[in-house]
Symmetry: C2
Subunit: 658 residues, 2 copies
């Protein structure tokens, strides 16, 4: 019975944000205002008060912000984590005895009741809270107590008093009410436990433009590139407005079962192999492909990227070529078949003989996991803080939770991007387990309905609490049919969508040139894919999208509304190929995007704005300035005529001028 | 790191049913099939298996039922608690190595691959699981192992085999697959924890018809009734088909500030007082009002009720008249004002001087709570198993959790009905904290829209997991305007709705006579309310609804679909005053109700049936038999014409004959 005796009257339920009952952490960015809400109620008609309690990494003491009642016993408040790391929060709710007494006193005085006894009780309540009032203010409360205890002007006769009674005036003094609200003691308060946690990242975790680049392709035609030649690309990538330069694996590549050009099984002597077939006698995951340079060269590349405002992202692919040093040094980390051979990767009946997967269920689990974390530590030491993780869904899920937690414990600024294209709950699971960002189904969402449904799922549901999308418009593995057939307009359309729907997005080099030839009809693989060979490009070739991309990336940087996801709202357009969406934030210029999804033909239609979502009055006249065409229109009300010709520009990106 | 090393690959999330992350218990009835579902997934493409584990009160060992994959990584299974008490359950998920291997083998053979090594691995897997196979079946698995290890028919040459290969046949033997599926060991399995709990009640917790009766009104005109005269009403109540006879407080009534007829403050000497003003010098909550009889008389009344198939529900009202023995014996259980007086009940500026509320925050919390629980124990000892709790939302919420848990721990068959009419989350909170059933807003939901919205909330949402409605059509406190003005048809309509929408419902005596005069216009209080005086009735008076009520209660008993809530479905009718709903269960006759909500006039319209909800084919011809009019109609398809005249019968209650 004893434990029940200690329980308070106040119940607190359904605290948000939480993910799977607090099993996982919600995600945020330092400087974000985190809205916290909860159902808070108690028995009886007492006035309640509530606060969100929070503390940052390393804090011993709790801070707090008061919550307010919204509606239907739902309370809301917020706090703003000011630095990265794991934050904790909880909700406290308690009975505000003074406010309850004050509310009832007003009703009694209004009803003309005798309140002599109530005033004495008010004095008692004030007295009971006196210690909680800061010393400089205490005298004011003491004075109120004295005043409440004065005899009634006609004390011999019990009678009704009015609001003009000096004792009632003291009792209802707004200053006293504020002091008591701010400082009263909270005996019997309820605090939720266990605390909920929040992973607070730097802004790049949510907002950033990624550029994927094979360093080996940056040499002169016919020559294998190096980190030094790759560094020559940095000014170009930086000028286009990208934030991250992502490199496929930079490690030695195996030769056993090496794949030739266009994924042939009989390579030529000169074929460079697949960077994801990691490991050769020259080393494994902590070695550098000798043709790319040395570790010092790489460090210099990282420094040079930094100088251009770019961060380097490395690829973390936990798999080995048959020539990886682990195959001989740690055969116990692989699955051995009954004939003694090591099991290669497969997806029956498909076989990938150039790759050995790691056995996460090895008897030497601790040795393996420690080694894998060591790889991350090694590259972090070179200055790399971003890892794009290859196929994490084919590796033990508990490994990721442990590895990401361990790394972020020491380096909370590290970012992990999950490259999982698999079932929705597995992709979401990886995000819950700790991945900072995730690849998505974006590439396969091309119609207005598909995009609207998917964006609603990502931006408006529970998912947004922990799953941060990174919309790659293409990857070395995915050249969607839409790009294959839609020409230059298709590349512009998909860029606008990727870059403006999602705060984080990326392209793989060649996108700016509209490269769109598949290896075979119906395939999403590139012809002469860079996965198997060097691809030398003229980035200034005619028809390039460099300036278009630059313009879009500049808008992204200039307008803070584009740094967020949950502020996305769709607007109605009466044509299936015209899609409109906006992003808004209090105090910031809203941005409205209208896209023609048809890369083959102009489309026209009527746009019906959700003026409320844009913070506009129903009959307001306002100007919209197209950041792409640089034209300005004057609109009134919610309706606007739209005509977009993809061979001119397939999209408007309006800033709304109020 | 160590703890992570032990974690399995399989993740299990969003287990249902659970209430507030398992903080509270979901509710069920013994014999119910409890559907359990969860998201279950792991890394990689392995085949998973899952089971729901469960155990009943006192069980040490767990039982289990296997779950199956539904869609999108959601799994479902069920179990059926066979007795009342607190049940626990959990979900276990694991990797089925044999099924994974078998699935892949099929793909390999289909692709014409050499599977020699795979067959050896299959033999190894079988061997590894041999101990888990029950001894009588083990030989079959051993034979399969031998067969898998046979040399290939042409062992000298690696080559593809077909499904006709005897080793492949052994490997894919359905019997072996079933044995392995049922009995393989589950190394690395994940079991959710902590376990989730379920309060399993007897059927009366969900399904029952209540009849509220003031025993003191059962005497001859002008005389105070007794338990003996009240017992004379039992045959009538029983014959009408009620299950519970609920008595307002039967304790001595205070005289200080006693209320007179129609809530006047100046009672006459002969006024009997309000039964909820509990306590006089003759005793308090464990005493019986001397005019009603003795404790022995009460015990006899309970026995007599039982003989008529009725259970007695008592009123548990934690409050005292100023004459209650506790006022002198335990003054510390009340709030004392600064002038030394005890605080009476109030809702400022309203005062209820005849009632002292209990101070749940008394310094003697343990003494008070123990005494209160003792009251329940006292009446349980007389054979009472049902308590209708008066205004529980004005008493400390943690008290209820403790008291109900403590009582049900010893007497799991006890039923607590929460009489809280307050804010939605507080009403739901009481249900979460343990109340078996709850009063609802039903009385104030009269239009089709109101009823549909409210029933959807109660039957189809999270609420249904823990909140069991008891639809009282009237109470001594609530005579809704609909009944005041709608005449006899209104009483029939509201009875049909209460009794057929909700598995538990009730009426307060006088309903069958259509008593509908309010004390004042706009008031929901009865004129000459039985709360303040004796009310003698002629239950056979002309126009009584006895036969109608009897018919409805008989239907309720006869058709198991009416014993449930979550099986409720609405059907479209094209008129706002015509409402249609049905209840179905697999293997049971569906019941379809069509009601005219307009008590003043006939209504006609087209009903569009949701045939799927009724288990009917789109073009089926079927008969519907009206259990009210005893007429049978032949219908085809989803459309039917409806005409209901409230002055004849305001509702059809069709059983669907297939």
């Amino acid at each position: 019975m004893k434990s029940f005796l200690r329980r308070g009257h106040v119940l607190i339920e359904s605290v948000e944000p939480q993910v799977d009952c607090g099993r996982y952490r919600a995600k945020a960015v330092a400087g974000d205002e985190i809205g916290v809400s909860a159902d808070i109620y108690r028995d009886g008609p007492s006035v309640l008060a509530a606060a969100v309690r929070f503390r940052g990494p390393g804090d011993k003491k709790w801070s707090e912000e008061r919550m307010t009642h919204v509606d239907n016993d739902r309370w809301a408040g917020s706090f703003t984590p000011d630095r990265i790391g794991v934050w904790e929060f909880a909700v406290e709710g308690w009975t505000d005895r003074f406010a309850t007494w004050r509310r009832d006193l007003i009703k009694r005085v209004e009803a003309g009741q005798d309140v002599d006894v109530e005033l004495q009780e008010g004095a008692q309540i004030l007295e009971g809270h006196l210690k909680a009032i800061p010393a400089p203010e205490r005298n004011r409360v003491k004075e109120a107590i004295v005043s409440l205890r004065l005899p009634a002007s006609d004390a011999s006769q019990k009678r009704a008093v009015g609001f003009e009674d000096p004792r009632v005036k003291s009792a209802l003094d707004e200053n006293i009410a504020e002091l008591m609200s701010a400082h009263h003691n909270r005996s019997g308060s309820t605090i939720t436990k266990p605390t909920l946690q929040l992973t607070v990242d730097r802004e790049l975790a949510r907002f950033g433009a990624w550029y994927e680049l094979f360093p080996r392709s940056t040499g002169r035609p016919g020559e294998h590139g190096t980190f030094d030649t790759a560094a020559e690309e940095l000014p170009r990538v930086s000028e286009m407005g990208f934030d991250v330069v992502y490199l496929p694996p930079i490690h030695p590549i195996g030769t056993t079962y090496r794949k030739g050009r266009n994924n042939t099984l009989e390579p030529e002597e000169s074929d460079v192999g697949v960077p994801w077939a990691i490991g050769s006698p020259r080393g494994g995951h902590t070695a550098i492909h000798p043709d790319l340079g040395t570790l010092d060269d790489f460090r210099r590349f990282v420094k040079e990227s930094e100088r251009h405002g770019l961060e380097v992202a490395l690829d973390f692919a936990i798999q080995c070529s048959p020539d990886h040093p682990w195959v001989t040094e740690h055969p116990e980390w692989f699955v051995h078949r009954s004939d003694g051979s090591i099991r290669h990767a497969e997806n029956p009946p498909k076989k990938y003989q150039d790759i050995y997967p790691i056995d996460f269920d090895t008897g030497d689990r601790e040795g393996l996991w420690t080694e894998l974390k060591g790889i991350l530590d090694f590259w972090i030491d070179t200055g790399v803080k971003i890892f794009r993780v290859d196929n994490p869904h084919t590796k033990a899920l508990p490994f990721w939770e442990w590895a990401i937690e361990s790394i972020k414990d020491e380096h909370p600024d590290v970012i992990f991007l999950s490259e999982a294209f698999t079932r929705p709950k597995v992709m979401k699971g990886l995000a819950k387990l700790g991945f900072t960002q995730s690849y998505t189904y974006f590439t396969w969402r091309n119609t207005k309905d598909e995009l609207t449904e998917y964006m609603t799922e990502l931006s408006a549901g529970d998912t947004a609490k922990y799953f941060r999308p990174n919309f790659f418009a293409n990857t070395p593995d995915i050249l969607h049919e839409y790009l294959q057939t839609g020409g230059r307009p298709a590349f512009k359309i998909r860029l606008v969508l990727a870059a403006l729907l999602s705060p984080a997005y990326g392209i793989y080099s060649g996108y700016e040139l509209g490269e769109n030839t598949p290896v075979a009809p119906g395939s999403e693989e590139y012809l002469d894919s860079e996965k198997y060979q060097l691809v030398h490009r003229d980035y200034e070739a005619e028809g390039n999208l460099n300036r278009f991309i630059t313009r879009i990336n500049r808008m992204r940087r200039a307008y803070p509304v584009l740094h967020h996801l949950t502020n996305l709202r769709f607007h109605e357009v009466d044509k299936p190929n015209l899609m409109a969406f906006s992003k808004s934030l209090p105090g910031e210029t809203p941005v409205l995007v209208v896209v023609n999804l048809n890369p083959y033909h102009w489309e026209e239609g009527m746009l019906t704005l959700d003026l409320d979502a844009l913070g506009l009055d129903p009959w307001a006249t306002f100007k919209v300035h197209d950041l792409i065409s640089d034209e300005t229109y004057e609109w009134q009300g919610s309706q606007a005529y739209i005509r977009l010709d993809p061979f001119n520009e397939p999209a408007h990106v309006f800033r709304i001028l109020r």
